[in-house]
C-alpha cells in the first residue's frame, strides 16, 4: 500500500528542477555550443594496454569505504574529514560528494551530532551554500563557543559573504589552543577586507616570526594568507617571495591557483602557464591557464576553452550553480563576452563578495559599457573601505566614467 507521502516523494524531480534547468541549459548551450568540439563519437579501443585512467595504486576491487551504518559515527567522521581534506588539497568536488555520502545517516537531520554538523557546514560552503553553512556553524557555536574549527570556518564564510566585521569578531574568539597563527591570519584577512591591509600584514608577519613552532600546514596556510595580503597591497615582490615560501614543500591546488592568479594580475601570464604545467586540470587551474593562454597567444587556448565550456554546460544541465564566478571570468577574459560575464558576475555577487568577485563585476561593467551596473559593488567598497589594489583602479575608472 502506498502512503501519499511515498506517492509524493517518489521521483519528485519534476517541475521544480526541470524547468529552471531546461532554461539554464538552453541559455548556456546556445552561447557555449559554438566553442565545444564536435562531439567525439565513443569508440571501442582495440588495444588492451590502453590506459583509461590512473588511480591510487594498491586498491584492486575495493571501493572507497562508504559508511552507511549509523552506528559508527566516529569512523564516518574520520573518513569524511579525510575526504574533505583531500578534496581541498586537490580542489576536487567529487571528494566532497563522497564525504557527504559517508555522513548520509546523519546528513538530513535538522540537528545532527556536532562533529557532523561542522563537516556539513564545510561541505555546504564548498558548494556555495553559505547560508546553510552559517546556520550549522551558528548552532555549533551556540552550544560550544570554544570550537576553534567552527569559529574559523564561520569567520571565513562570513568574509566570503562580505561581512568582515562579524568575521573579525569570530577571529578574536578562536581559542588559544589552536595556536596564535590561525587567529592572526583570520584577523589579518578581515582587516584587509576593511581597508586595513597594511596593519593586517604587519600583524600576521609578526605572528609568523614569533610562532616558529607551528605545524608546517598551519605555517603554509598563514604564509598563503600573507602572500594574498601582499598582493592586495600592491607589494608584488613581497607577494612573490611569500607565495614561494608557502609553496616550499609542495603547493596544493588552491595555493597554486592563488599564485598563478598573482602572476596574471602582475602581467606575467607566461610564468603562470609555466607554473601550472602538469598541475592537473582542476576547474580553477584550467581557467587560469585559459586566461594566460589567451594573453600569450598560446595555441592550447582553444582546447582549454572547449574543455571549460563543456564543463560549464554539464554543470548547467545538472543544475549545479557553483561555477558562476569561474564562468563569469571565462566569458570576460577568454570569450570577450563582457555582457554575458556581467550578468553572471552580478549573480555571483549576490552570494560571494570577496575582492575577486568585486573585481569581476567592475571589469565586466567596464567591458560591457554598463558602469551603472557596478553600483552595488561601488556601494560595498565605500561601506567596507576595501582598498585592494586589484579592485581600486577599476573603482576609480568607473567613478570617472559615471557623471
Amino acid at each position: 500500500m502506498t502512503r501519499p507521502s511515498d506517492r509524493l516523494s517518489r521521483g519528485r524531480h519534476g517541475a521544480h528542477a526541470t524547468v529552471p534547468i531546461a532554461a539554464a541549459l538552453a541559455v548556456s548551450l546556445t552561447t557555449l555550443a559554438g566553442l565545444m568540439p564536435a562531439v567525439a563519437e565513443p569508440v571501442r579501443p582495440d588495444d588492451d594496454a590502453l590506459v583509461l585512467a590512473t588511480v591510487p595504486a594498491g586498491r584492486a576491487a575495493a571501493a572507497l569505504p562508504v559508511r552507511r551504518r549509523s552506528d559508527d559515527l566516529a569512523g564516518a567522521v574520520a573518513e569524511a574529514r579525510a575526504a574533505i581534506e583531500a578534496g581541498r588539497t586537490l580542489s576536487d568536488p567529487r571528494l566532497y560528494g563522497r564525504a557527504e555520502a559517508m555522513l548520509s545517516p546523519w546528513w538530513a537531520e535538522p540537528e545532527p551530532p556536532r562533529e557532523v554538523r561542522v563537516l556539513r557546514a564545510v561541505i555546504r560552503q564548498a558548494r556555495h551554500d553559505f547560508d546553510g553553512a552559517v546556520t550549522d556553524l551558528d548552532a555549533v557555536l551556540a552550544e560550544t563557543p570554544r570550537d576553534g574549527q567552527a569559529r574559523l570556518t564561520r569567520a571565513f564564510v562570513l568574509m566570503v559573504r562580505g561581512e568582515a566585521a562579524a568575521a573579525a569578531a569570530d577571529c578574536r574568539m578562536i581559542p588559544p589552543t589552536a595556536g596564535p597563527l590561525p587567529a592572526a591570519a583570520c584577523l589579518a584577512r578581515a582587516a584587509a577586507l576593511t581597508g586595513r591591509g597594511a596593519d593586517g600584514f604587519a600583524h600576521l608577519e609578526r605572528a609568523l616570526a614569533l610562532d616558529a613552532g607551528a605545524s608546517p600546514a598551519t605555517r603554509r596556510f598563514a604564509l598563503a594568507v600573507l602572500a594574498d595580503l601582499a598582493a592586495g597591497l600592491g607589494r608584488d615582490s613581497d607577494a612573490d617571495a611569500l607565495f614561494s615560501a608557502a609553496s616550499e614543500d609542495g603547493a596544493d591546488v588552491p595555493l597554486l591557483a592563488a599564485r598563478a592568479e598573482h602572476l596574471l594580475a602582475t602581467s606575467r601570464p607566461a610564468e603562470a602557464l609555466a607554473l601550472l604545467e602538469d598541475a592537473g586540470d582542476a576547474d580553477t587551474l584550467l581557467l587560469v591557464r585559459a586566461v594566460a593562454a589567451k594573453r600569450t597567444g598560446d595555441p592550447r587556448l582553444d582546447a582549454w576553452a572547449a574543455l571549460l565550456a563543456e564543463r560549464f554546460a554539464a554543470a548547467a544541465a545538472a543544475g549545479v550553480g557553483v561555477h558562476r564566478r569561474e564562468e563569469a571570468r571565462f566569458r570576460l577574459e577568454v570569450l570577450d563576452d563582457a555582457t554575458g560575464a556581467l550578468a553572471l558576475a552580478l549573480d555571483n555577487w549576490a552570494t560571494q563578495k570577496e575582492p575577486v568577485d568585486a573585481r569581476l563585476v567592475l571589469a565586466a561593467a567596464v567591458g560591457a559599457g554598463r558602469p551603472d551596473a557596478a553600483e552595488p559593488v561601488l556601494a560595498f567598497v565605500t561601506a567596507t573601505g576595501l582598498a585592494d589594489r586589484r579592485v581600486l583602479p577599476l573603482v576609480a575608472r568607473i567613478e570617472g566614467e559615471t557623471p
Binding site: 502512503r3 501519499p4 524531480h13 519534476g14 563519437e41 569508440v43 571501442r44 580542489s91 555520502a101 564545510v122
Partner: protein, 377 residues
C-alpha cells in the same frame, strides 16, 4: 586566496597528494530514445566513478587499462544496467547491453554502455537510477530523452532517483487530456483528499441550533450548502496549486502531508466539538489552501514540459475537479436522503466524525514521524 577551506584545514591533518586526475563534479550522462516498441540508450559514466563503485583496477597497479575493463565486460555491464530502471511506470524493461566503448567528457575518461530494450515504451516513461548516489552524494545523472521527435532533459539526484516523463504528445490535446486523467486519478487514489471532501459534505447538510446539529431546512438548502463548501475548497486548492506549480511558493512535502492530515482531524473534530458552525465554507477554503500544495507535489512528479506548464496546470486542476465532482455525485443522493432523519445528526454524524478524526490523527502521527500506522493513506 579565494578558497575558504584553506583556513579550516590548517586545523586538520595534512594529507599526501594523490595522483593528478581530472577534478570535476561527478556527472553521468544517459541518452534515451524511445519508440513505440523499443528503448535505445547509452549510459556514460566516468571511469573514475565506476572504479570507486566496483573497482576497475584489477591488478591494483594504479592504471586502469582497457584490457582490465574488457576482461570483465559482461559482468560490468550487468552490474551497471541493474542500477538503471527504464520503462513504463512500475514496469522497468530488461535492458540488453551492447559492446562497451570509451570517450572523454569535460576532459575525463568515460565508459559508454549502449543498451537496448524490446519493450513497449510508447507511453509514459519512468527513469530511475541507483548508480553512484550512495558513493557520491553530489553525483548527478543528466538524462536526455527523445521520443516522438521531442527531446526532454532531466536530472536524477540522490534525493530524486526516479522521474516520470509523460508520453510526449506532439498532439497537445492528448497531453492535456493526460494531465486531466492524472488529476482525476490523484483524487481517486488520494484517500486523504476524499476523506476531507466527505467530512466537509457531512457537515454541510446540518446546522447548529440550540447547541445541537439539526438538518438544514430543505434538500435544496443542503445542496446549496454542499456546493458552497466544495466550491470554496476548489478555489482555495486551485490557488495554492498554481502558486506552488509555478514556483512562487515552495514548501517541503512532509510538512504539507502532515498538515493535510491535520486538516482532516480538525474538520472532523469540528463536527463533534464545534468551533466553526457558520460559514463552513471559510474552513473549507482555509484548509483547501493546504491541500493545493499537496496536489502541486504530485504535479511535480509528472515532469512538466516547461513550455506547457500552464496548460498542464489547468488540465491537472480540471482532472482534480472532475474527480472531486464524481465523489460528490456518488455521495450526494444518499446524504440528502439521510440528512433529514433524526438519527443522522444525533448518531451517524458524530460517529463518522470520530472515526474520521481518528484516521486523520493516525495519518498525522505517521507522516510527522515517518512511520506507517494505517495500511492506506
Amino acid at each position: 586566496m579565494n578558497r575558504i577551506l584553506l583556513a579550516v584545514l590548517a586545523l586538520l591533518a595534512p594529507l599526501a597528494a594523490a595522483p593528478a586526475a581530472a577534478h570535476t563534479q561527478s556527472y553521468g550522462f544517459l541518452t534515451v530514445t524511445t519508440t513505440a516498441d523499443a528503448i535505445d540508450g547509452t549510459l556514460a559514466l566516468a571511469v573514475r566513478d565506476l572504479d570507486a563503485a566496483v573497482g576497475l583496477d584489477t591488478d591494483a597497479d594504479g592504471s586502469i587499462t582497457w584490457g582490465e575493463v574488457r576482461g570483465r565486460e559482461a559482468a560490468l555491464a550487468e552490474t551497471v544496467l541493474s542500477g538503471l530502471r527504464l520503462g513504463p511506470p512500475g514496469e522497468p524493461c530488461a535492458l540488453v547491453p551492447a559492446p562497451l566503448m570509451t570517450d572523454t567528457r569535460g576532459g575525463e575518461p568515460y565508459l559508454v554502455l549502449p543498451f537496448r530494450a524490446d519493450c513497449a515504451a510508447g507511453g509514459d516513461l519512468e527513469i530511475g537510477s541507483d548508480l553512484l548516489f550512495d558513493i557520491d552524494a553530489q553525483h548527478r545523472l543528466i538524462a536526455t530523452v527523445s521520443s516522438d521527435g521531442a527531446t526532454r532533459n532531466l536530472v536524477l539526484t540522490p534525493a530524486e532517483r526516479t522521474a516520470t516523463l509523460l508520453a510526449a504528445g506532439t498532439d497537445g490535446f492528448k497531453l492535456f487530456l493526460g494531465f486531466v486523467v492524472h488529476g482525476a486519478h490523484h483524487i481517486w487514489i488520494g484517500y486523504d483528499h476524499i476523506l476531507f471532501v466527505i467530512t466537509l459534505m457531512l457537515g454541510a447538510v446540518v446546522e447548529r441550533r440550540g447547541g445541537r446539529w439539526v438538518p438544514v431546512g430543505s434538500g435544496r438548502d443542503a445542496l446549496i450548502a454542499i456546493c458552497k463548501v466544495v466550491t470554496a475548497f476548489t478555489v482555495a486548492h486551485s490557488v495554492t496549486l498554481a502558486l506552488a506549480a509555478l514556483g512562487v511558493v515552495r514548501l517541503p512535502s512532509v510538512l504539507i502531508e502532515t498538515a493535510i492530515a491535520a486538516t482532516i482531524t480538525l474538520a472532523a473534530l469540528n463536527l463533534v466539538f464545534p468551533v466553526v458552525t457558520r460559514r463552513l465554507w471559510l474552513l473549507a477554503f482555509g484548509f483547501g489552501l493546504i491541500h493545493g500544495f499537496g496536489f502541486a507535489n504530485v504535479l511535480a512528479d509528472l515532469n512538466l514540459p516547461a513550455t506547457n506548464l500552464v496548460n498542464a496546470l489547468v488540465a491537472f486542476n480540471i482532472g482534480v475537479e472532475l474527480g472531486q465532482l464524481a465523489i460528490v455525485a456518488v455521495l450526494l443522493p444518499g446524504l440528502l436522503l439521510l440528512a433529514h432523519r433524526p438519527l443522522y445528526a444525533r448518531t451517524a454524524l458524530p460517529v463518522a466524525a470520530v472515526m474520521i478524526a481518528a484516521i486523520g490523527t493516525a495519518w498525522f502521527v505517521g507522516r510527522a514521524l515517518d512511520v506507517e500506522i494505517l495500511p492506506i493513506g
